[in-house]
Symmetry: C2
């Protein structure tokens, strides 16, 4: 018998196929064909992108020149523009606004062929630090209410360039999905005096059915009402509403847990397309932001969102999260020793 499961935060029911749950071998993945051609993110092609807004690079190296190991540039084809003005205009019953926002690209490595899960853990840490620094910098613009950090891997998940990269979009409003989660968290806090994600972590760590990885500071788990096969969330053990409040000890552990989870996904399923979505508290004048408990969502794209999903907002998931967690747990955890703050390297930020 299939099972309806309700997301504990928002109005979202998922149909979980509890019998005949789809295992990794049931998904056929066709890795993207390599495109070839000149890559604007590779070393030596720095002039192919708009001037960098931040970079981690060797001391003495010039902006927009080699010597970097993580580089952040404005998107050459931005969905939104920083030079726009806020302010809603009415057009009859409709509301519209200039396309205000910021849209940046984080080049995660100099290595064109090495996606996040194949980078050494210390390089994954550098990517996380870049996300954090841009998040702190962009919020200085009081017009922005939310910073959406995400990554699309492979064409099926929306990636148009091969070189490993993530994206940052600063928005002039709190997105509906985050607002709904925040509502759910606030309601629970008002009723119980506790954080629902903290409680959820407690239940998951007691049951161990859906736990994928247990780091010292972070837990990776397959959500009870997973929308996608092998969906995995990485959640800080302590209540922390703002991703940008990450400390160095947390970054090191997050990098290990993220890398190891993505690597297990890759090794189990074989280069699955996926999206990474960082959900964190709204910035600038969100009075209730402290109720939020930030988390990173890994969303493998092995199924198609079709008429049912687009019509209802609900999902059909053919892989029970308990099965997904078991499969991912069984993959050997690969641990790397983090190395940071090497001599002769510096953090450069230009704004």
């Amino acid at each position: 018998m299939p099972e309806w499961r309700k997301d504990p935060l928002v109005d979202r029911w998922v149909i979980i196929a509890t019998e005949r749950g789809k295992r990794p071998s049931d998904f056929k993945i066709k890795p993207d064909e390599k495109k070839g051609g000149r890559c604007p993110m590779c070393v030596g092609h720095e002039k192919d992108t708009p001037p960098e807004v931040a970079a981690f690079r060797e001391s003495g190296s010039a902006p927009d020149a080699p010597g970097w190991w993580v580089r952040v540039v404005p998107n050459k084809f931005p969905a939104v523009r920083i030079e726009a003005q806020p302010g809603i205009r009415r057009h009859g019953i409709y509301e519209t606004m200039d396309g205000l926002g910021a849209h940046e690209v984080v080049v995660e490595t100099t290595e064109h062929e090495k996606n996040l899960e194949f980078l050494p853990a210390h390089q994954v840490e550098e990517v996380i630090w870049a996300w954090q620094q841009r998040s702190l910098d962009l919020r200085r613009d009081a017009r922005f209410k939310y910073i959406q950090i995400f990554k699309n891997f492979a064409q099926t998940a929306g990636a148009s360039l091969e070189h490993p990269h993530s994206q940052i979009v600063a928005l002039p409003m709190v997105p509906a999905d985050v607002a709904a989660e925040l509502d759910g968290m606030r309601r629970y806090a008002q009723n119980t005096g506790r954080c629902i994600i903290c409680d959820l972590l407690g239940q998951e760590l007691a049951e161990k059915q859906r736990v994928v990885r247990e780091g010292e500071k972070f837990v990776a788990l397959a959500p009870f009402a997973s929308r996608f096969p092998f969906e995995t969330w990485i959640v800080p053990r302590e209540h922390q509403h703002d991703f940008a409040a990450l400390r160095p000890d947390q970054v090191a552990d997050l990098a290990r847990v993220l890398r190891s989870t993505l690597r297990a996904l890759h090794d189990c399923i074989g280069e699955p397309p996926y999206n990474l979505v960082l959900h964190t508290a709204p910035i600038n004048d969100a009075a209730e932001a402290m109720h939020y408990h930030w988390h990173l969502e890994i969303l493998p794209r092995l199924t198609v969102m079709a008429g049912f999903e687009l019509g209802t907002g609900y999902f059909i998931n053919p892989t029970p999260p308990e099965l997904a967690a078991q499969v991912l747990r069984e993959e050997e955890t690969r641990a790397f020793t983090p190395i940071y703050a090497q001599p002769g390297r510096e953090v450069a930020q230009y704004v």
Copy 2:
């Protein structure tokens, strides 16, 4: 400058690329490879499916045998089951329920290769009648609160079988997306005493910027805050909350407008994958259902829902709806004379 547009019904902002808007030729479509093999929906293979629950077939022809022109069967691999029991169970902080529901398949034609837009209009009418009849029949089960009718065309839009078909899922709850629309419609009605969709139609018909087709009873339009390139909604001109209240004169016009719009999409873009999603009022004990104004959404799948969409619930649409409407309007309208109620044909329903 790109533009943020807010959906008039729900909390959904869309970034519309108003410059360099993507035209049909900017989308590369690779039609699905034909799979071959035995088709369980073709004439003569009626025993390959579960026994039919309804069919339009020639007088004297036997159930589950040739002689039908539209056939409705339970899904062989149902996402939900009619024999399940309602009732929410708690598991710590989580809620779960047996996979209650109904999941049916509407075989839209005997012709394996002819998708909806290539059928004669009278056959499209028959498909609409089948949707309506199943909707009326399924609501007799008081456990169901909503009937989601949808169609997935091509693999990119989630179709797993080639033979033209649509699907019907009866749900034990009102889906979040429909509930949110109903909320928006009710709020507007409370504030103004009017229906927002009726007002919206008035504004669209006055401006003519986003109108795609004007039928006698239905209007096809590109929504102001379209999520997808060439998204088109078909809306009844009169306020009607329940799709199943359709009258014969409406069915004839809806078939013409739907077919002509889908055909224009096909002719402009070249076999685009799409989802059809019918949004109608909740059934059984939804006190405010009369505020709803039902509509049919055509959602071409020319872009990928990626990290931004999955993280925020908002969308980036590279084709302004004004451009989409203009392109679709310019395609010649192909009209067919409807033919129904031919002698020697009957409607059979077995429950």
